[in-house]
Amino acid sequence: MENWLLWSVYLLIFPGIGFAMVVGILASWVDRKVTARIQFRVGPPLLQPVYDLVKLVGKEVVIPVSAQPGVFLLAPLVGFVAAALSAVILGVNNFLGQSFLADLIVLVYLLLIPSLAIIVGGSASGNPHSSIGASREMKLVMAYELPLILAIVTVIINAGFSLDLAVISAEPQISSISGVLAFIVSLICIQAKLAEVPFDIPEAETELMEGPLLEYSGLPLAIFKATHMLLLYLLPLYLITIFLGGIGTGYGIIWGGLKYLLIIVLIILIKNTNPRLRIDQAVVFFWTWMTALAGLAVLLAGVGNIYGIGWL
């Protein structure tokens, strides 16, 4: 019973949904503020993301006549729950030092679900723009998942074929060449996972007017936005956990916070200095350059593992 209560606290308060949402909202504010400063604007106040969410929650939910109401409304919820569960797994590992067998595999699956929720929700909304957006999201997921998985394989090899986050995050994986290559690949894949420029192809505001999210309003849209905020917290944390030795404890948390800020700012800078790619160009980019780079990382990690060369 006590254990059950403890895990409920983990899930709902710390380091689960509550904590993740707070950091996600802060990350969203940092994103908007840094973007504004790059564009020589003042930017929003600290609580603007909260105001936006509250406003959306208060708005009417409109369901298009041509939509599949059940799937349309369930999709954002499924995405949010998956992101929340990922927050618990990553949070428990980073802040409480606990993990379970092969939690990395569970995490990889869970982090895929928000993208699938967008595909399902967009397809269920019955709008041609949303359908194109969902189709683009599908292609994008297929494009970036391959190099992302290869990057994870590199990390697994470097960590002595372990699938546990606790083992992987015990030491920084970027202390080897293969680790650095895998980190670069993962950083770029995460840009696509967040659907940020230059990979904001599914939402493409000027082309598809938010694409899969076009028909969403009110609470379901708020949930999608909240999921994106969660991902802004989760995906950099995921990179820190598997490549940079985790957040750390005690004073190490400050160092961990700096790592997190560095990744977030990198993502924002890439987003603000590049135009959007076309979907076919994105697929080619991920399946050639990124996959080749990730494949090289796997190869180097394998050679390093066989011959005991640590720096490879």
Binding site: Q39, F40, P128, I132, E205, T206, L208, N274, P275, R278
Partner: protein, 387 residues
């Protein structure tokens, strides 16, 4: 300059197929994406692009809106007044011609930066979009200060410029443009030489010489396709024939070439303005030398929109107009702007209908868009411009 009226009316016609040859029939089989595109008429395109922020009628930014409307008003008045001067046979003094040329080049620069802002927004480089819009507004303000007016359109009067130009004004404008020149590398790195822009635009959305000519496309589109045609060479009331500038002409006709032609034109405009500013101090010791008359002729200038078409009217008792009609054209940032003037000597007025190159570009979309992806279509639009 004066053309056959039937030709003019065909040219001015804004509705689909107005100036396009019949060989560009729409494709029979259209995909879903293509249907989204080709289902639009030019008028719905304006709405479409306004919704996406690619046309600068931003509802939430009153200052920018005022700047853009003032620019549009100055633009449509400039060619009209130049046309009126041709009809009324007013021959400007040299300094007035220099200043008029300077004015046109400043307007061209404002237009180029508005285009850059629009193109960057269509390609989702919001940072460049905002910076370029601010640049356009900065040049606009600098021009306002130089010509000592609160609305740029007020600087254009029949007969020249009724003001005294002090050295301070010239130095201020020159230093502003020097800043702009130094800042061009920002736009070069972030947009014109950006790797992804190159990836998206190189050998994409190609418009051949024949297609461009058949569809009545002008300006950077024509130059990028390889046609060495620039209307500035023969503009009356200007000194383009006395300044040193190059007309950029490319070969491939793709979107990247169109971007590069625009960038080169910005640089050429800066070069022209530098040369003109050197001429101004020597010629403007006396304000009377800058205009034909001692004061601006009492005149009334009206412009109004009917649908998406702009109509202009100029009336003055002090000027004499012979009857007749005139097609006056100016090469601005986006290409050829046309003014069809119809003189009415009985009422001492001239009516005018105004054509922008954006209108021709818009109507060509239904022929250029089929077979292209939605993303490529946006690139096409960014490179054509919505001026």
């Amino acid at each position: 300059m004066v053309a056959d009226s039937r030709e003019i009316k065909t040219y001015l016609h804004l509705l689909p197929a107005g100036c396009c040859s019949t060989k560009f029939a729409p494709a029979v089989e259209l995909t879903l994406e293509e249907n989204l595109i080709t289902g639009c008429t030019p008028v719905t395109w304006i709405d479409y692009l306004t919704d996406r922020g690619a046309v600068f009628l931003e509802k939430n930014n009153e200052v920018s809106q005022q700047f853009y409307l003032a620019y549009q008003r100055a633009l449509c008045k400039t060619g009209f007044i130049l046309g009126v001067e041709v009809i009324a046979q007013i021959n400007l003094p040299l300094i007035a011609k220099i200043l008029r040329t300077l004015f046109i080049e400043l307007l061209r620069m404002v237009g180029q930066f508005y285009w850059l802002s629009s193109a960057a927004r269509l390609l989702e480089i919001e940072t460049v979009a905002l910076a370029a819009r601010r640049e356009a507004e900065t040049i606009h303000s600098a021009a306002n200060n130089f010509f000592q007016v609160d609305q740029l359109s007020k600087a254009v009067q029949p007969g020249g410029f009724y003001m005294l130009f002090e050295k301070r004004q010239i130095i201020e404008l020159a230093s502003r443009l020097e800043e702009l020149k130094r800042g061009l590398s920002y736009y070069k790195n972030r947009f014109f030489h950006n790797y992804i822009v190159g990836l998206r635009a190189h050998k994409k959305a190609i418009i051949s010489i024949e297609t461009a000519l058949d569809m009545g496309l002008t300006g950077p589109v024509l130059k990028a396709a390889g046609v060495d045609r620039d209307l500035r060479r023969g503009v009356s009331g200007s000194v383009y024939d006395q300044v040193d500038f190059r007309i950029p002409v490319a070969q491939r006709g793709d979107a990247l070439e169109r971007f590069n032609v625009r960038f080169e034109e910005i640089k050429q405009s800066l070069q022209i303005i530098e040369q003109l500013l050197e001429e101004v101090p020597a010629q403007s010791n006396n304000s009377r030398e800058t205009a034909v008359f001692n004061r601006p002729p009492a005149a009334r200038f009206d412009d109004f929109l009917k649908g998406y078409q702009r109509f202009l009217k100029f009336s003055s008792e002090e000027l004499e107009f012979p009857g007749g009609e005139l097609y006056y054209s100016l090469e601005m940032g986006g290409g050829e702007y046309g003014w069809y003037l119809l003189s009415n000597p009985q009422k001492s007025s001239i009516d005018c209908q105004y054509r922008t190159p954006g209108a021709a570009n818009l109507q060509s979309m239904r022929y250029l868009a089929p077979g292209k992806r939605l993303a490529e279509f946006h690139l096409l639009f960014a490179s054509l411009g919505v001026d």
